[in-house]
């Protein structure tokens, strides 16, 4: 981040809000909690999920909003991180990892980092192949990739006798994180961890955007032919940014696994991938700050539907939620396609009619 830029102020503000909300939750001065002042809308649970999604969205916005490469399968990398963490902590014995290692406080952290690196390498190799495709075709290839990963997770990685992923039922009893003997739990503590990572990711995203790499990504988005003509190694850069976004999604997945303490494959399927794209579109793709805003907007809309709107109409049950979510999605895309944050004049993410 550059000193004195508007981003610095925005970042200071974001840190302030995160700290204030965290302090409120931790101390509850005079019985005031986040949930109470927001009328039950903002819960610590929602804020943690927002932090986790923000981490994914920063990567996704770099990939889609800046480099112009659409991914409809991002939840796959999110799921890979979550399952890496879940399997290597809960099922360490099956894999022959000594209990002494698997129970050490640093083991989940090590797995988390290792997963991010492995997913990064994996997606770099995949990206090198499929990022040759453009527009619709890339979107569809990533969609196919996402569904394939989902099926592999659901079907026990193809080795049912080990039952590593737990099939449809997933994995439960994933341990909480510790720093030495200090437990990062209850939620009010985990909140600080998640948002520390999320804020660090935002800094990372802003750094990339304001670097020559960010400029090169926008150039690729604008005209791949022109970007290549000045010597930008387009396939390499695309694969790198794809890998970075996948690594961030994997990191978010690990944080999610230790937060929810359980993972099921349906969290990482086709529809969740699309929800990520929706968050990105609503927040404003070509913006790093669009990431947390888009996440919060979508989570709050869902929460409002669940807690407020649906309760007002007696005939309407919780089953209405997908109907209204779908309808809102259509309306927002129809009337507000630019997103919340439009930092500059943008090009459609892929091909005009």
């Amino acid at each position: 981040m550059r000193k004195g830029s508007p981003d610095t102020w925005a970042f200071a503000g974001a840190v302030g809000v995160v700290l204030l909300l965290g302090w409120l939750e931790l101390r509850r001065p005079g019985g005031v909690s986040i949930a109470r002042i927001s009328g039950g809308l903002l819960t610590i649970d929602l804020l943690i999920r927002a932090g986790i999604f923000t981490i994914i969205l920063v990567g996704l916005n770099l990939l889609m909003g800046y480099a112009g490469q659409v991914s409809l399968g991002q939840a796959a990398f999110y799921g890979m991180g979550a399952y890496f963490s879940a399997i290597l902590t809960v099922k360490a014995a099956v894999l022959g990892i000594s209990p002494a290692v698997a129970r050490a406080w640093w083991w989940p952290w090590f797995v988390m980092g290792g997963a991010a690196v492995l997913v990064g390498v994996f997606s770099f190799l995949i990206g090198w192949v499929i990022l040759r495709l453009r527009g619709h075709y890339l979107a569809m290839a990533t969609l196919g990739l996402g569904i394939m990963v989902y099926i592999v997770l659901r079907e026990n990685l193809g080795i049912p006798q080990l039952n590593l992923t737990g099939g449809f039922d997933g994995i439960v009893d994933i341990p909480r994180l510790h720093l030495g003997a200090f437990a990062l739990w209850p939620e009010s503590r985990y909140y600080f961890l998640v948002w520390a990572v999320a804020l660090a990711t935002i800094v990372l995203g802003l750094n990339v955007v304001h670097s020559p790499v960010g400029r090169a990504l926008r150039a690729i988005h604008g005209s791949e032919a022109a970007a290549e003509s000045v010597g930008i190694v387009v396939p390499l850069l695309k694969a790198q940014i794809f890998a970075l976004s996948a690594s961030l999604a994997s990191l978010a997945g690990s944080l999610y696994a230790h937060f929810q303490a359980a993972v099921v494959p349906d969290t990482f399927g086709f529809v969740p991938s699309l929800e990520l794209v929706v968050m990105s579109a609503i927040g404003g793709m070509a913006s790093i700050w669009g990431a947390p805003l888009g996440v919060l907007a979508v989570l709050l809309i869902q929460e409002l539907l669940r807690t407020h709107v649906l309760g007002l109409i007696p005939a309407v049950t919780a089953e209405m939620e997908p109907v209204i979510f779908g309808a809102l999605l259509v309306l927002i895309m129809m009337f507000w396609p630019g997103g919340l944050v439009s930092s500059r004049r943008r090009r459609p993410v892929w091909g005009e009619r």
Partner: protein
């Protein structure tokens, strides 16, 4: 052909494949296609051999594949019609596939009279209703958003799908339904034994209806003024507009046509399966894969793509873990995009349409 025209053929529909020497590339791509299909076929047959499959088993898998393949072909045609006329990949196509049988079942239950009469009337009524739904969806959502980017418009169709599936969940609940078999007009279908293989009587209905739909579709495009106008839009929207064709009306009509194709596919398949509110997701995605295998713009390609996908998937399903059956379609999706983006019928390397 102008110099500029030659230029654009290489960037055909946004595909970037590093051109090697043109003739080699053309030959190479065709060779790759043949090699992949032969290899996949040999691999599957070899795998089957290991688990003790004989000729009869393969024939059975082939027939099963042709059954579902005909359905994929119809769904794929719906994708192609809409894509060619409007440039949108319509993920709501799966909704049509689900609405067709669900509405038929509801109508069937509410009518009185002879079973044949009830079946015919309810099926026709359902198809007409779904066609109206398809056209309404275009008019209400995609037509107003026609200037938006392709990604925005695709997200809109996803939103529509989520909503419609949500409504279906409320209307019909999560349980599977039953549509009587067309031959017996009962829950239990007649089984036809041909040599050592067994074919459901409904399978012949599926093939018959699929062929009939193809003939009707061909007649519509070849013989009717509306059909010819729609074809003109598919070839060149701007030129069609200049010739006085109301392109937006043709787009609405294309949605109606796609809805008919989807609904019919869902209805004829239903006696052989158990329709549920969420059946559209899988059939929609697989129909889409079939359309991509056919090149997304070619009607014959979609048919061949659907049948090829059906057969290969069935062979694959015979030798793999039950849960991995769905993996195949998405593997084919990525392979098709990478190796023969123009579709399996396109002999031309670069360019071509």
């Amino acid at each position: 052909m102008s110099e500029q025209g030659l230029q654009t053929t290489t960037g055909d529909r946004g595909i970037l494949l590093r051109p090697t020497r043109a003739s080699l590339q053309r030959f190479g791509r065709q060779a790759a296609l043949v090699a992949v299909i032969v290899l996949v076929g040999l691999f599957l047959v070899g795998m089957g051999h290991r688990v003790g499959y004989g000729a009869a088993d393969y024939l059975q898998l082939l027939v099963d594949g042709l059954q579902i393949g005909a359905v994929y072909a119809l769904v794929a045609l719906g994708f192609v019609v809409v894509y060619r006329v409007t440039g949108v990949i319509n993920f709501a196509q799966g909704a049509f596939v689900m609405l067709g049988p669900m509405l038929t079942i509801t109508l069937f239950g509410s009518l009185s009279g002879s079973p044949v009469f009830r079946l015919v009337v309810s099926a026709l009524g359902a198809v007409l209703f779904v066609a109206a739904v398809g056209m309404a969806i275009h008019r209400l959502t995609l037509h107003p958003a026609r200037k938006a980017s392709a990604l925005t418009r695709i997200i809109i169709t996803v939103g529509v799908y989520i909503s419609v599936q949500g409504i279906a969940l409320i209307a019909w609940g999560p349980r599977p339904y039953v549509l009587p078999a067309f031959t017996t007009l009962q829950m239990v279908d007649r089984l036809v034994e041909v040599g050592s293989i067994i074919i459901q009587a409904q399978t012949f209905w599926i093939w018959g209806v699929a062929v009939a739909m193809l003939v009707l579709l061909a007649l519509f495009f070849e013989r009717t003024v509306v059909g010819k106008a729609m074809r003109a839009c598919a070839v060149n929207r701007i030129a069609a507009q200049l010739m006085g064709i109301r392109v937006d009306r043709m787009a609405t009509l294309a949605f109606g046509l796609a809805a008919v194709l989807g609904a019919v596919a869902g209805i004829v398949l239903s006696p052989a399966t158990r329709p549920t509110y969420d059946m559209g997701l899988e059939l929609g995605l697989k129909g889409f894969v079939a359309a991509i295998m056919g090149g997304l713009v070619s009607f014959p390609g979609a048919v061949v793509g659907g049948i090829a996908l059906g057969i290969l998937e069935s062979l694959w399903g015979g030798v793999t873990l039950a849960g991995f059956k769905d993996l195949f379609a998405f593997l084919m999706l990525i392979l098709s995009l990478l190796f023969w983006p123009q579709g399996i019928l396109a002999g031309k390397g670069e360019g071509g349409s």
